[in-house]
Every structure is written in structure tokens, then in C-alpha cells.
Amino acid sequence: MKKLLVTVRNFFLKRNFFLKKSLTKYSWLEIQKMINKLIQQGDCSKAFAVLFLSRFSMKNVGFGRIARKIVVRAKHDEDELCKQVSNHYFNDDFHDHCNNLNEALNYGYVCLLLKEWEKGFKTLSKFESEFSNDQQKILFLEILYGLILDYVNKERLDEAIKIKMLISSIETENIGKYLWKMNRDFVNQFHSMGSDKGPDPLMNHMNFKDFIEEDFGKKCKRIDIFEQLMALDHLDNYRNINSIKRKKPTDRPLNILVVSDNFNFVEQPCSVFKSFGYKLRYIPFKTLDSSLKLQPDIYEMIYGNATKEEVFNELEKKLPWVLDLINWCDVVFVEWWNRPAIFFSRYLDESKSLIVRLHSYEAFTTLPNFTNMNGVDAGIFISEHIREIFYATCIGAEKYSRRHSVVQNIRDLCKVVYSKRSSLQKKTLCLVGYSKINKDPNFALDILQILLNNNAEWRLKLIGYPWPIVVKSEDFDYYHEFKSKLSKLSRSVELIEFQEEIQQSLVECGFILSTSLREGSHEALVEGMSSGCIPVLRNWPHVSNFNGAKKMFPIVSPIDTPAEAAKQILEASKDFDNKSKIYYQNARKFYDRKTSGKELVGIIEDLYN
């Protein structure tokens, strides 16, 4: 065995020897071409071997930049290549005492690759005055950007602030791009509690739980760091509505501009607005990402420091119709608290009002933290617990709570006629949406299993889009558990394709399930109740600290386990017709647009009182 290993090692040594010898014949330009070809062919290890063996002849020129390029292109073995770079570069005869800009830049690229922020910063800062092009400045910016996040992690606030000032002082065309990346990652880190958990870490159940349950003192300290670094107070300069009084137009209807990235849930609010005589126009916000490349781009407008003047000049040039609609309106109503909400909180003229409606997921994302809260006239939340979560995740939002209200989603529930269930329908459970972990269909299958243990007539309808053909790796285990449970219960489970109008399916079921980990308002449960289904409501664990399920549905008793659910179902079955009718009536009473529509319009009218 030992002999074999020696032979293998000798083989590689020999191979490298010959490779090195043969490389001496080539110019640096030719070697570069060879490396590029190897990268294109996907042979990154060989590309790296060529680079490493030819480094002496090239006198260090290009090594770092190309090493980084190879690692960035490597699809599977980035870590191994990084290790190789680290071993060769830091332990070999390359060193960090660079004698000129070129050497420093190459060293900088290696530092960027290996996340050696401080080493990179120290070396490059000596040559900062010699930077002559954007590429060099961008390398320096990337190093600084890594370093500042590192300092924030280590709670070295003073140094972080110094680096931030340095970043702001660098003049390059692309500075906005780095500023927005940096700002976005600050918030990600705040939500990740200092570690790197990727974008929007609170969308993950465990991260959210940790975040909410974190020690208050620690959280305050991080908020303090965050506020000093982000300095979002300056957003007041864009739009400050504190002392603004507006007059409602008397000679024409109120003009409302509805803005959204998607218009999926806004149809009902719009129909309420129209019925109150308001005039509506719309901006699909995605058009700002259009092929007419904006400069500053949308990221700089939202995360960065693009000024109002820059933004409006660009709109005038490239999207004059957007400007025209903004000028036309009295009120901007933004659906979803995401990009358009931030945009208008900064750039909308103070003479116009801004209302933002938040549904659910946005409260778990980083985006709302970039809102100029003082620029929002009214914030609308579709449920109380989502508002509370918003205050926990969005720094500085609670200060403006007097401008915020909870208004139920606008629903037209009165169109469904009550129909009495057959005995089989009374033993039919229904879950709408089952191809996401958040909906937790396994919980529903567990309920069914318990019920079937007593009576073989129980059935479960799973309505919605099926799981994708390629399941995400993080969902893999859950999906296989689902498949395994489903195969055991397949005789009692019916999978029904997604339907635009699900009422017909719902009136054929006895119980509507809400087994999700997290919900804002769970529209399917409301629709089920309004169709005469008896609700089975899980105490949504992701938001249980906020009593989400109970607050959203005070007329329903939430359960925590499948066993509790099964017990509740069997109990309700004893008096099914009566209970079904009560829920049918209560759904109309509490969740129909009659009440919520008036509340919504009330918020608009209040802007002028």
C-alpha cells in the first residue's frame, strides 16, 4: 500500500515537473489563454496547476486575479481550490510584502478569494493613491465590504464605522452597487444574529425562532450597531411628512395610484375603492427593471443613496409615463411591503399620500428595513400578529405605530350558498396547497392516519399544485417523508389540481385544515369556513410566540398536535350540521369585505382629516 502511494505521488511530481518544464516555452499571454481554455472546459484543477507552476515566470502578475477567476468558475471543488491557493500563496514564497501596486493588487485578489479581509485591506490601502481605474477601486471596495461585515460580526463598531466612511469616500461609477450590497448584507446579518445565514434568514423557521427568543440586551446592542452603520435617519431628507396637511380635492374624485410587483390580491381592495368613487390607475413596478436600463438602477434607489433629482431625471428620460402617473395621483397605494414601498417612501412628493399594505412574508424579510418610515402615511397589516412580527424584525418601525392599522384582507364571501353535506362529505378533510414545507401536509396526513384508525371512511383532499419534479435539496427529506406517508394512505387521499375557483371543491368537504408552520391570514381557511367547512386550526408554530393563529381566528380553538386535531374533529362531527352553519355565518360576519372594506376606505379618508 505504502509503495503504491509513493508511486502515485511520484507520478504527480513527475507530471508537474514535465508540465512546469513545458510551460517555460510559453509566454504569459499564451499561458493565460491556456488557463482560460481549461476553465471553459471545466477543468479548474488543471487550470490552477498551470497557473501555479507558471507563477515564477510571470513574476506574480495576474496570479491573484486568475486564481480568483478559477475558483469562481469551479462548480464543485471551490473549497479544495481555495485550500490549494491558501497553501501555495501564504505558505510558499509569495508573501504579503508587496513592493508595487501590481503585486498588491494580485495579493488583494488572493485575499478576496480567501476572505483574508484585514491582510488585503492593509496591503491595498498603502497603494490607494495609485489606483488608476475602476477595476482596482472595485477590488478595494470588495475587500472593504468584506472587512466591514467581519467587524460588525465581531462587534468592532468603531473600526466598522471608519471603514464605512472610507467606502463612502471612494469615487467610482459603481459605488452605488457596493453600497446597496453592503446595506442589504448589514440587515441580513442583523437578522442572522451576526452569522452568515444567507439572504432573508428569518424565512427559515429555526432562524426566526432563535431571532425572536434572543437575549434582549444582545439584540439592543446589535440594533445600536446597525443603526449607526445604516444611518437610515438620513432618509427623512427624501420625504418628511410630519408637518404636511393635505386637502382632499373637491372638484373631482380622489385619484389613487395602485403600485405593486404583482397584482394577485389587490383586486378586491381595488373594487372597494372603485365602489367608493375613487379613480384608479396602476403601475406594475417590475417595469422599472425594464430593458431600458435605469441609471441609477433600481437597487441604488432602494438600498443605496440615489437622490430624488437623479431618480426623477432618469424617469423623465426613460419612463416618462411613470412620472406622469405619479403627478396625476393624490394617493399611492402600495400592495406588499417590498421594493415599491421603499421607493415611494423615499421619492414620492410630500404633497401626495403613501399607503403601504403588508401581507405576511414581507415581515420576515430584510427589505422593509430600508423604508423611510417617516415617509409612509399609513401602513396596513392584514393581521395583528404580522404587525407585531414586523415591529420585531424591522428596526425603527414601531416608532410609527400610530400610523399603522390592522385591516382584514378584503374578501367577497357572500356569494357562496350554504349546502348541507352528505355523510361521506362530513368525513372529508381538505388542505389547500400542499407542495411546500410551510403548509406541512405531513401534519395533515398524520391527522388522517389517526382518524382512519377508528373509521375507514375518512378521506383527505389535497388541492393545489403538485410538488415540483425537481425538489429543492433542503426539502428533500420532508418530501420523501410525505411520499412515504402518502403511499400508505393513498386509498384515502385524493390529489386535486390547482383550481382558480375552489368553492365547488370546498362545499364537498366537511373540514378545512390549516396545518401550516406560518401564515398571515390563511385565506383558504377563511374560504373553507365561508363554504360551510369546520376549521381545524393549528397553532402555527412559526408564529406561536405571537399567538398568530388565535389572534387571526378568535372564533376557532387552535390545536398543537395531530392527535388533538383528530380529537377535535371527532368531537365536532357529533354536531356537524349545527357547527358547520355557525362557522359559515361567522365567516361572513367577521371576514367579509363589508367591514374590512369600510375600514380600508376609512384609512384613506382619514388622511384628509
Binding site: F263, L280, R281, Y282, K317, L319, W321
Partner: protein, 357 residues
């Protein structure tokens, strides 16, 4: 004239270098519909994959060219593959390639006027063909002097999926919002500066100026071609719209526009058929193709900016006029249904002579 055949001949079909196609741009959509018509006579294979209207994608990815022998080969815009094939070869008569024209067994066109010009029947045929072919083939000076091969009109037809699609309330709201709630005059498809209906756009601009309360607006859907970007207060680009969503976008339109380019004295135009099949008027310049598609007495032809203005204004404000045009469009679209088109396609002696050859 009808054909009774025990077994249909096979036809290999290929568009340019597209080994695989799906309904995502005008030319391809056009060809997919064309295959539907051709399949009344042939067993059609798109790049070795049997044509089936239900398939979302046609063709074999890693092949380009026939992998076996077929009875006929229909090659559009790929001279290399065309030259490499031995057998009965058919071409689409656009763009122009002299060698392909010389050696083709038949030439497909999609309008009767185009066929007429290739058969040199019109007094202005030469001029119109020059206009058509010179743009992409500057060396074009005329058809080969001995050009006599059969010219077969495959026609264009409405797509039954577009005709049948029911727009839900939700669909209509979505597109009302996507088009900003304006009164929509849509231009959907190839957003190229050479094809824009400039007289039509100018008419809507003036209409917007005169009647801002009605917010007449040009909505562009599709991808800007290089240099085709335009920006104005009443011109809005909404990006690409899925083929399946097009009926709903057309439904929220007061009217649609189509190109004013003289190319449409010969070339076909699918946009017109899509629009009329939903009962939505098309404002169009009186060009030969549109006359053949809509009939000579279609009420929304214009020849000038002023005429376009008056028509757009009437469609915007005169409900009776608008309703009459809607009815006219729906009636006329029957002429372009698959069954009608197949009847006309089969009723061509040139097709018979090709099949008998």
C-alpha cells in the same frame, strides 16, 4: 379538390438553426400553426420529432437536420441544411436565397397576394418583391428567370386555443393593472423600429393630448429589438407576455395596432388574426395582406395619421361603432379558422402537382 390517400407522405420541417421550438416568438408561433395546416396532408416532423399540437416543445435537441429519409423536406432559412439534403425540398419564400429558390421543389407562402407576386401575375409584382427581399438580401434583383416551381399558399390561421380561452375576472383585472388602467391600444410582438406603426402611434399621442381623461395609451408587449426602445408619456412597455396570457391582454385592449411596413404587401401577419379572433379591432394601414385578411370593406383601415386618429377616437368613444367592428372581426375570423384554411390549402393545383411529383 380533395385528396384521398392511404398513407400521408412524411415531411421534415426545420426553421433556421432551431433544433427545438416552443411558442415563444412570432415566427415560431407562425410555423407551429403552419404545421397544423401541413399535417392535413403530411405526417409532419419538426426536426425529427413528430408534430403534435399538444406538445409544448417540438424537435430533438442535439440534432440539426434529418436523421432519416423523409418524403419531403421543408426548410426555412437554413441554406446549409437545405444544400445537404437530397430529396424533394420545399422552402418558405422568405428570406430570399437564390440557390434555394433555384433548386426547391416548391415554395411556401402565407398570403394570396404573395403567391400572386411570385407567380408574376401583378403589374407591381416585381416592385413589391424587390421591397420584400432587398432588405435582407441587398443583392436581390429579381427572381431567377426560369423560376417556375409551384408556389403554395399555406395561409395563416387563427389558433383555436386563443379563440377558446376564457379570460377570468382575475385575468382581466391583472391585465387592466399591468396596462396601468389606461385605454389600451396595443402593439404586441416584434418591437422593432422598422415595424412600428408610426402613424398610429402619432394618432394616439394626439388623442391623449386632446382627451387626457380617457387616457388613450399605446401598450407595447414583447422584447425591444436593438434600437427599438421608445419612451413617451403615453407609450408603455410591459415586457414579455406569455403566449397563454395573450388572449387576456388582447381582451383588455380597446384596439390593437399592427405594422405599417410595406412588407405587409406580401408577408403574412399573425397579430391581425389573433386580435380579430378575440373580437378586438385592429387598426391597420390598408396594405395588401391586411385587405386579404380583413376584406376590402373592413371599417378600420387608415392611410394617414388623421384617419388613424378618427378611427381610434371612434373606437374609444362611440360604443355602437366599437360594437359593430367587434362583430365584424368575429365574423371575419371564421374565414381564418383551421377548417376553412385547410380547405383553401388543399384546393390548390400546385399542392397536387407537388404531391404527385
Amino acid at each position: 379538390m380533395t385528396f384521398k390517400m392511404k398513407k400521408k407522405p412524411t415531411l421534415y420541417s426545420l426553421i433556421a438553426t432551431k433544433s427545438v421550438i416552443s411558442a415563444n416568438n412570432g415566427d415560431v408561433i407562425n410555423e407551429i400553426r403552419n404545421m397544423g395546416t401541413l399535417s392535413s396532408v403530411f405526417d409532419v416532423y419538426y426536426n425529427n420529432d413528430i408534430y403534435d399540437p399538444q406538445k409544448k416543445q417540438l424537435g430533438i435537441k442535439d440534432q440539426l437536420g434529418p436523421s432519416r429519409e423523409y418524403d419531403f423536406y421543408y426548410i426555412r432559412n437554413n441554406p446549409d441544411v437545405f444544400k445537404s439534403i437530397r430529396g424533394k425540398k420545399i422552402i418558405m419564400a422568405y428570406p430570399y436565397d437564390e440557390d434555394m429558390f433555384k433548386s426547391a421543389s416548391a415554395v411556401f407562402v402565407q398570403t394570396p397576394n404573395w403567391k400572386n407576386h411570385l407567380q408574376k401575375n401583378g403589374i407591381d409584382s416585381e416592385e413589391k418583391l424587390k421591397y420584400l427581399y432587398k432588405t435582407l438580401t441587398p443583392s436581390y434583383e429579381g427572381l431567377p428567370y426560369d423560376f417556375k416551381c409551384p408556389v403554395i399558399n399555406t395561409w395563416q390561421r387563427t389558433d383555436q386555443d386563443i379563440v377558446d380561452k376564457v379570460s377570468t375576472k382575475k385575468d382581466l383585472f391583472k391585465f387592466e393593472a399591468e396596462t396601468t388602467g389606461a385605454k389600451v391600444f396595443g402593439y404586441y410582438g416584434n418591437l422593432s423600429k422598422n415595424l412600428y406603426p408610426y402613424m398610429g402611434f402619432a394618432a394616439i399621442k394626439n388623442l391623449h393630448r386632446d382627451f387626457p381623461e380617457h387616457s388613450p395609451t399605446v401598450i407595447l408587449a414583447g422584447k425591444f429589438r436593438k434600437g427599438g426602445e421608445i419612451a413617451d408619456k403615453n407609450i408603455i412597455h410591459i415586457g414579455n407576455v406569455d403566449y397563454d396570457d395573450m388572449p387576456s391582454l388582447i381582451d383588455v385592449s380597446t384596439a390593437t395596432f399592427t405594422t405599417e411596413s410595406l412588407l405587409c404587401n406580401t408577408l403574412g401577419n399573425q397579430k391581425v388574426l389573433d386580435s380579430i379572433s378575440r373580437g378586438v379591432p385592429v387598426l391597420c394601414r390598408k396594405l395588401d395582406t391586411f385587405v386579404s385578411q380583413l376584406g376590402d370593406n373592413y371599417p378600420c383601415f387608415y392611410e394617414s395619421e388623421n384617419e388613424a386618429y378618427d378611427l381610434a377616437k371612434n373606437l374609444l368613444m362611440d360604443k355602437d361603432f366599437s360594437e359593430d367592428v367587434r362583430k365584424f372581426c368575429l365574423e371575419r375570423s371564421k374565414y381564418h379558422s383551421q377548417n376553412e384554411v385547410i380547405k383553401r390549402f388543399l384546393d390548390q393545383p400546385e399542392l397536387k402537382s407537388l404531391l404527385d411529383s
